[in-house]
């Protein structure tokens, strides 16, 4: 009986080792009212502009189109991030997931510079000092005093912080020091429990997280900006290290074989896979060791984004509130409305591959035309 048990539990040939992959999607909020007028915003609770709302809806559409699903969302206490999250979640039908809001994901506090435009700061303090505040990792702006017009001490949402924890101006390092405890205490345990997490936050907050995950040097993170409204995908290992295209993903797609492929063939397969999917990477940030993947199809981005923007203008009440444009709306309606308003059919609604294939076959039969 023992022998039978041992037979049943014998070591089977190992499957391709799949490292546990945890999904994390970061989303920077779109254009806010003060972005447009180029003022330092910080903790002031301005809302999104029309363009910002469209960017948020577009982000949701992209997430839905690529089939992303989430179990938890985290955001800051500021309206612009919360609204971005709402739009994105409603567009990809995940409105029901739990959302946690925390002051630790708030934008970096710009201290006394809050509310001043960049031109004003340049005039009053000089270009060099302005660049140091914006980009210096350790440079703290002048502290905000209680008589500042945008003093945050009176705001009810920060009352639980008490007078000592409330920032009056933060350097990027200070911002990181308050973001990382939230990362460690809330986001990482959620991912380890198998939850797929969406974080909708601000430029500096996300830069701190990206720097922590990708181990980017301080000199390089200074100039790194996260584009607004484009989901940034990270797949993390158990140690919270980002998994690149050429490593575990290729490994996980490998079929089970009795004998592993020779090393050169494995490497060639990884490189081919990496090349095939390179269009999802933005080229430049790799130089500094950035490992996230932006959710855009780089060569299609301009036309699709513009087509979506136009469609968003016309069908705004639908896209913002109901479903994504790809599924759920009957195509005849969209085609009819495009014809009525005289705009081009958005690429997302273009003919299915089947129809394109059929048309091509008919064309070949008719006139011997081959190829695209």
């Amino acid at each position: 009986m023992l022998r039978a048990a041992r037979l049943l539990t014998r070591q089977r040939p190992r499957k391709a080792q799949t490292r546990a992959q945890h999904l994390l999607v970061l989303l920077r909020h779109g254009q806010s009212e003060w972005n447009a007028s180029k003022r330092f915003t910080g903790w002031v609770d301005v809302d999104l502009t029309e363009q910002g709302r469209e960017e948020a809806t577009h982000a949701g559409i992209m997430l839905k189109r690529h089939g992303f699903e989430f179990d938890e969302a985290h955001t800051s206490l500021l309206k612009r991030a919360v609204r971005t999250l709402w739009s994105a979640l409603h567009c990809c039908d995940q409105h029901w997931i739990p959302v946690r809001r925390s002051w630790r994901l708030n934008e970096r506090h710009y201290g006394a510079l809050t509310g001043m435009s960049k031109q004003e700061v340049k005039d009053q303090m000089g270009e060099e000092l302005l660049q140091k505040f914006r980009r210096g990792f350790d440079k703290k702006p002048i502290g905000m005093r209680p008589d500042h017009p945008f003093w945050t001490g009176r705001d009810r949402r920060y009352q639980h912080l008490g007078p000592n924890a409330l920032p009056t101006g933060e350097s990027l390092r200070m911002c990181q020091e308050r973001v990382l405890p939230y990362w460690v205490d809330n986001i990482v345990p959620a991912m380890r429990r198998g939850k797929r997490v969406l974080v909708a936050a601000h430029n500096n907050t996300l830069r701190c997280l990206v720097q922590h995950m990708d181990n980017i040097a301080i000199e390089n993170i200074r100039d790194f900006e996260i584009p607004t409204g484009i989901p940034l995908i990270y797949r993390l290992s158990d140690e919270m290290e980002p998994i690149g295209a050429s490593t575990a993903s290729a490994r996980s797609r490998r079929t089970v074989s009795a004998r592993p492929l020779p090393r050169e063939q494995r490497e060639a397969a990884s490189m081919a896979w990496g090349r095939k999917n390179t269009r999802k990477h933005t080229g430049k940030p790799d130089a500094i060791g950035f490992k996230g993947k932006f959710l855009i199809d780089a060569h299609k981005r301009d036309t699709e984004y513009l087509a979506n923007i136009e469609a968003l203008h016309t069908f705004k009440h639908r896209y913002d509130r109901v479903v994504s444009p790809v599924e759920g709306l009957p195509r005849e309606d969209v085609v009819r409305e495009c014809e009525t308003f005289g705009i081009e059919l958005p690429k997302a609604w273009a003919e299915t591959k089947k129809e394109i294939g059929q048309k091509r076959r008919e064309a070949e039969k008719a006139g011997g035309i081959v190829g695209h």
Binding site: D45, L77, L78, K79, V82, R83, W86, H90, H95, W96, I97, P98, V99, R100, R101, R156, R157, H317, R321, V322
Partner: protein, 271 residues
């Protein structure tokens, strides 16, 4: 001595009463199509969005300050809450989406047209299903999309809890314990609460708060997207409000005459 104790308590910042504002979600697309909705996740109609924004403005005009919000897992209630939070400038408060506050499940009738169902089963039977306290509509099929056990939203919950059909009694059996175990501790902690839920879940809650008998609660109609304000004393008992419309102890916000008309009008809709 009692006066001084109260003064000391007030200096310490002790609350004397806490506020709960609850509202039913605005008109949904299936309301327009006159279908039984139940646990189906249909969105708000255009008018529903406007109603929700208007409700938010009414709440903002009263100057309430909230600390926490609760809603169900359906987008019509979540969207109503979003509008309310936006208008009252409370987009930063923690929001809990609880399935216990979901609408009553309409069983096998979910997705069916109301008029067709009346034609098929007769007005008396449909009235019994809609308005009786503890007689539920027929079960929904466990293989259909209408059984919540097949919905990925509730995948993490015990499937035995997922209803195949519900009456107002069974709805109350999940709403009232949620109120007692989750929402009341927030009130005790001195927080003000905003709730956006559904007709039947609010009926169950209001029956518990105001002690309304079973036959009256089935006739009671709560108008859509109209904020209903309850204030609670230290013992979490509702304080009767001056403008309350019987048998409720809470007051509605907005044009009182129009609200009364709507309450009476919805009663006529059951035909």
């Amino acid at each position: 001595m009692l006066l001084r104790a109260t003064q000391r308590a007030l200096r310490r910042g002790a609350r004397q009463k806490s506020t709960v504002v609850m509202m039913r979600h605005g008109e949904s697309t299936w309301n327009l199509e006159n279908k039984f909705t139940g646990w189906y996740d249909c969105p708000l109609s255009e008018k529903g969005h406007e109603e929700a924004t208007e409700a938010g403005r009414l709440v903002a005009a009263e100057g309430f300050k909230f600390d926490v919000a609760f809603t169900s897992t359906f987008k019509r209630a979540i969207r109503t809450l979003d509008h309310a939070l936006e208008e009252t400038d409370h987009m930063w408060i923690p929001v809990t989406k609880a399935w216990q506050l979901n609408e009553r499940h309409y069983g096998g009738l979910q997705g069916l047209d109301k008029q067709q169902t009346v034609d098929k089963h007769g007005i008396e039977q449909v009235t019994v299903w809609r308005r009786s306290y503890d007689i539920p509509p027929p079960d929904s099929d466990k293989s259909s999309e209408h059984w919540p056990g097949n919905d990925p939203k509730y995948a993490k919950l015990d499937k035995h809890v997922m209803p195949t059909t519900e009456s107002l009694a069974t709805t109350a059996a999940r709403v009232v314990p949620y109120w007692q175990h989750v929402i009341v501790p927030e009130l005790i902690a001195g927080k003000d609460v905003l709730i956006a839920a559904h007709g039947n879940s609010l009926r169950a809650l209001v029956q518990y708060l105001d002690g309304i008998p079973n036959d009256e609660i089935t006739e009671l109609n709560i108008p859509t997207a109209t904020p209903l304000v309850y204030e609670f004393d230290d013992a979490q008992e509702p304080i009767p409000q001056p403008d309350a419309i019987a048998p409720l102890q809470g007051r509605y916000l907005g044009d009182q005459a129009a609200i009364r008309a709507r309450i009476e009008g919805v009663k006529a809709q059951t035909k």
